[in-house]
């Protein structure tokens, strides 16, 4: 089904550009077959997300949120249909090109934080900039500014093991946004956090979305995040069953 939003349309007042959508999918399918059993994880999903949107993919467990998010991030290849990120058809990209696209245009925030345990908080946050060959001074400046903003100043040299869950997730958010990607994909980012920490993290991401114009797409069933989203795409059994905007 289609969400009725076409690329190029104005979606919210905070959307940065009206040109190329941040995300577009067309008739997207993901089918798994195991021992003769066919599971349609994502079914015929077509949607468009404009730059600057703060979107939640909502739905019960097994509704296909994470699979859809993984396909948007190029982590899983679709069985059928197409995904365009910032105008690029990623279904046609090679492994190497996909890796480059993830590095330059995407940011990821995972449920389990997934910081690299051998790097410090600062090194984790600047990791994608390092891969992009950004000069050291520029890297440090960007990360330090961001750390100040997310309340992580003074904790730069700590390894993930020495940070609380909330602090680790802040670093993960910093890592995702520091390179100013076209899109940040976050899979259940608040699932492992307590209420207060979750709220603070949601505030932080909303702030970054507002101030930096970073596009966020979440897969979650956290009601607090659903309340803060300006657009909620509801999934059931792999299909989109609703697309609510709250401008």
């Amino acid at each position: 089904m289609s969400d009725g939003v076409n690329g190029g349309e104005v979606s919210t007042g905070r959307v940065r550009t009206l040109g190329t959508p941040a995300v577009r999918t067309e008739a997207l399918w993901k089918v798994y077959e195991h021992d003769g059993i066919r599971v349609e994880a994502v079914r015929d999903v077509s949607m468009t997300i404009q730059p600057g949107e703060f979107v939640v993919l909502a739905g019960p467990s097994g509704s296909g949120k994470t699979t859809l998010l993984n396909m948007l991030g190029g982590l899983t290849r679709p069985t059928d249909g197409g995904v365009w990120i910032d105008g690029t058809d990623i279904s046609a990209l090679s492994e190497r090109e996909l890796a480059r696209l993830r590095l330059e245009r995407l940011g990821f925030v995972f449920q389990a934080y997934n910081l690299l345990p051998v790097l410090t908080a600062l090194e984790n946050a600047e990791f994608t900039l390092l891969l992009r060959d950004v000069p050291a001074d520029e890297r440090r400046e960007k990360v330090e500014k961001l750390f100040e903003r997310i309340g992580m100043s003074g904790l730069e040299d700590r390894r993930p093991g020495k940070l609380s869950g909330g602090q680790q997730q802040r670093v993960a958010v910093a890592r995702a946004v520091v390179g100013q990607p076209a899109l940040v994909l976050a899979d259940e980012p608040t699932a492992n956090l307590d209420t207060a920490t979750s709220s603070a993290l949601i505030d932080l991401m909303a702030e970054l979305n507002r101030d930096l114009g970073t596009t966020f797409v979440f897969a979650t069933h956290d009601t607090r995040l659903l309340e803060r989203a300006r657009r909620v795409i509801r999934l059931v059994d792999g299909s989109i069953v609703g697309d609510d905007r709250r401008d």
Partner: protein
Amino acid sequence: MSTRRRIRLRLALRNLRRQKRRSVLSGSAMVLAMALLVFSRAIAEGGHEDWIDAGVRMGGGHVSVQAPDYRTRRTLEYRLSPEVRAAVQDALRSDEISRRLVASAPRLIVQGLASSSQAALPAAIMAVDPELETHFSALQDKLMDGRWLEPDDRLHAYVGYRLANRLKLREGSRFVLTAQDANGDISGQMVRVAGTFRSGIPDMDEGFIQIPLATAQEWLGVPGAVTTEALLLRGSRDVGPVRRELGRALAGWSDEAEVLGWRESMPELDAAVRMDDWADYVFHLVLFVIAATAIVNTILMSVMYRTREFGVLRALGLERGEVGRVVFIEGMILTAISGLVGMALGAAIVWGFFRNGLDFSALWDMEMEAAGVVIDPVIVPRFRWNQIVQSLFFILAIGSLSSIYPAWRATRIDVAEAMKFEE
């Protein structure tokens, strides 16, 4: 170094440090294997060198000069004339040879018969210059009764103890040596037992006699001639250069003289040393497998354990091959460090505890013989540069081979699946 290379190296190094206990445990298997390798190589090298040394002292030296075909015919027809011997002596004075030379000894060897009033038995008769032979052969140290030959001796013989027993000879007994002379006639020479020896080599103890060179030359009608000019060198490594230099110097005498290395003049010893080498290779292969298994196991465990981490690296933009390279570098670093530590440990053990020799006399008979050589139960370990180079190559080979599979496994990780992986 490019940024990405630096990142891969940093991740690999830090991960090894992070998994300190695991790194140390698997590294210690490598350390042990390498230490054992260095130790066994040094012992094998020292043992071989001692073995070769004992063999060449009893036999024809590291390098020998003989008449062509003497090796197969063993008759006086094939002997070195005084002129050829003079050319050999000239060549020995060259710098290339003299700095490698320990001793040289002329020898006249014939097959003959030793007869006493009790029996007549076949014997190998080696005529030697007692003065020069003192620096060369170890046979005089194997004395049982009487004495060895002296420079002024004329009609004296140094006899294997079993041969002496069978001929019922004692110190001072007279007996007759019979052999074919230079004219092909059978000729006899009466000699007196100066002493008897026990070499530990049955063939020698049962059928070997030494007499003075001058006596044999006169008896067999070959004044100034010998069958072999034997050269004892500092070690078996010197054989090649000396052989080449001597070959060049004697190029004008090629019809009358050929230069042989110990491997050619003593093929049984050569075969035995080679066989022993193979046994060493098999032992080293076992060490290789032990070390490689430890490394593969560690790195593979680490890859399994870090599935999610590799998934994250891929999600963040590292390519498949780069993730594999991180794992490969880890394996190489672990192998290189533990390999070098193992080499140093092995060398320290050898040098610290066994530099004066490792005594195996409790394990084997004092007269253990192999390939016609009595092996000294005290083996002095030896290091060679090629050993170190080979060991380094060995380390790198273990490192690369045992890291390839885990690295490949790391490249095959499905990113989306990896995110579900519970650490």
